[in-house]
Amino acid sequence: MLSHSEASENFIADAERTDWHDETLWFVRAKRDNASKVLPEWEAMREHASQIKDHTLANLGEYLQAFEAKAIANGIHVHWAADAEEHNAIVHKIIAAQGSKTIVKSKSMLTEECHLNDYLASKGIEVVDTDLGERIVQFRNEAPSHIVLPAIHLKKEDVGETFHQHLGTPKGNKDPQFLTEAARQHLRGHFLASEVAITGVNFAVAETGEFVVCTNEGNADMGAHLAKVHIACTGIEKIIPKRADLAVFLRLLARSATGQLITTYSSHFHKPREGQEMHIVLLDNGRTRQLADPKYKNSLKCIRCAACFNTCPVYRRSGGHSYHQPVAGPIGSILAPNIDKKANADLPFASTLCGSCSNVCPVKINIHEQLWFWRQDLMEAGLAPAGKTIGMKLMAITLANPVIYRIGGSLMRRFSSLLNTNLNPWYKQREMPVAPKESFQEWYKNR
């Protein structure tokens, strides 16, 4: 697996596509800016939403149990999964009971986190992703590169070619309208035929035992309402206390994500349809560990709007796949190390700590500060790349001692031209600063 910096270098090698990716996502951020700036109460709403989430996390156990009791009373089957393996096994058992071989699924980053599609495939069950972007990347055997815009790394030519191969659309047709229509027809067949539908969950309301799913395409609803069995998969952090809390979250979510006033469909699943079976799977998978650490607890406030992706100058220029995780971008970089420190030790360093992510976050997660904390924890866990620890220790010794510092500085200035080599990553595409004859301190002494 390539590290973030290696994968980014490959991504940037296509400068034109990188510029397109950067500009397209910047445009999404600009739409978010416009949507937020026409509301004088924007910052107050962020604070309000943040407080609701703080309150919820402080009482998560109670709210989960309240949700469970209400949901059961509503006729919803409630399942608990400690980890991805349990989650997948629960979902499989429900599908197997129906005897289904093909099922539909709307967007759920949680099922990506659990690698549910691969798991079900190994059991002989085909999952058809129904979000257009997800269907595109599924055809291509790729992972989504963005949690809201899964195929944002692709150009319409790529999609045209993919649909030509998989749906038999005319070669060379790259018209988004035409391709979307082709997907509509193709997926309508699956919606009508599928007996089981999986959806994600945006919010689960403790007060009422209902859950809310937001889409623009309508694919979650097409799947859920036509299927005999609806399985909703959610992380335990998606709980909110009251129905009225939805107001502030629905106001923030779409505006932060795409600059829309609200997603086209915000569906409130309270009870199963007559004759329908409805399940909800509550997943932990490391979330309780995160909750127990005051440094990282706040990352559980995330409502998956991806505003931090769109604003991140690194994400925009490195693409989602460079993060090698289902959830990329700044938020992914603080979530992933909680699940696997070693595999994700590079991600908290894939940032300049510019802080823009924390500023756009609708629930005020201190993302850039958590990136900093993860850096400390990862290095303490001994996960530094070769040579870094010794280099840092030497640097610390040099910079802590004025005498060594002065000698070192003087040597560095005198021999700085030795650094003009391609072994020096700085020098690859940048000139080294011109070394002055005197340091400031030397000048000051003779002033």
């Binding site: 924007w42 910052e43 610390a396």
Partner: protein, 237 residues
């Protein structure tokens, strides 16, 4: 007013003119400036690389040099932010100022005798802007303000132009600039492209590290655009 001048290590070694301008400017404005001569580094290079556990020596040296000062002023938003957030001494955390905020918030200067008849692009360094709130931020729904622009407006002849994305990061990011070389350089090139589109003669800002990064790219490109720390402009006769 007694002020201790904090000269970050890389400014001391590679950009002494920034420290000289800071010293002269503060003196011109009537401050009694002390330069602790055994100062080295704030510890940020280690801390941001995940080795905050190794900064005790730097922290102690900083304390020794700056103990007893009510105003510790430095020409680097990033280093100042690090001290404000992470130095173990509360007294130090509360006494350290980035030089622009010191000029606007403590000295409340309303006039300068500076002259700089050039077209200048302003780079908002992230740690100064988002960390120290030297200006309003494009992400937030807040009243626009800029301490840097307020100061530059006191300089005769200068024409300040903002890049299209007025507060996007330049990609320096400390050790990020070498560990994530490709992204870092691309970010810097993209910033420069926007300043070029504005036909600027200089790029300025309150963080020498960002300017050093952009200068490295500019020089590699053979560009005529130069970088100057904002205090060099505020101190320019």
């Amino acid at each position: 007013m007694r002020v201790a001048l904090f000269v970050p290590c890389y400014i001391d070694q590679f950009y002494p003119q920034v420290a000289v301008a800071s010293l002269e400017l503060l003196e011109k404005l009537g401050c009694d400036v002390v330069v602790p001569t055994d100062q080295t580094c704030c510890g940020q290079p280690m801390a941001n690389s995940g080795f905050a556990s190794s900064t005790a020596g730097c922290d102690a040296n900083f304390s020794q040099n700056f103990v007893g000062f009510d105003y510790i002023v430095g020409p680097s938003g990033s280093c100042v932010l690090h001290l404000k957030e992470h130095h173990p001494s509360e007294k130090i955390r509360n006494s350290v100022y980035e030089i622009c905020e010191f000029l606007t918030d403590v000295l409340h200067i309303k006039a300068l005798s500076a002259n700089f008849p050039y077209r200048v692009g302003l780079h908002q360094s992230c740690h100064g802007q988002r960390g120290l709130h030297l200006s309003s931020m494009s992400e937030r729904n807040e009243k626009p303000f800029s301490k840097l622009q307020d100061l530059l407006s006191l300089v005769k002849g200068v024409e300040v132009v903002m890049p299209a994305r007025e507060d996007e990061c330049c990609g320096f990011g400390g050790t990020f600039c070498v560990t994530e070389e490709a992204v870092s350089v691309k970010m810097g090139q993209d910033r420069i492209k926007e300043h070029d589109a504005n036909d600027v003669e200089f790029i300025t800002g309150a963080d020498t590290s960002c300017l050093m990064h952009m200068e490295g790219i500019l020089r590699r490109q053979g560009s005529k655009v130069q970088v100057k720390h904002i205090v060099e402009i505020l101190n320019h006769a």
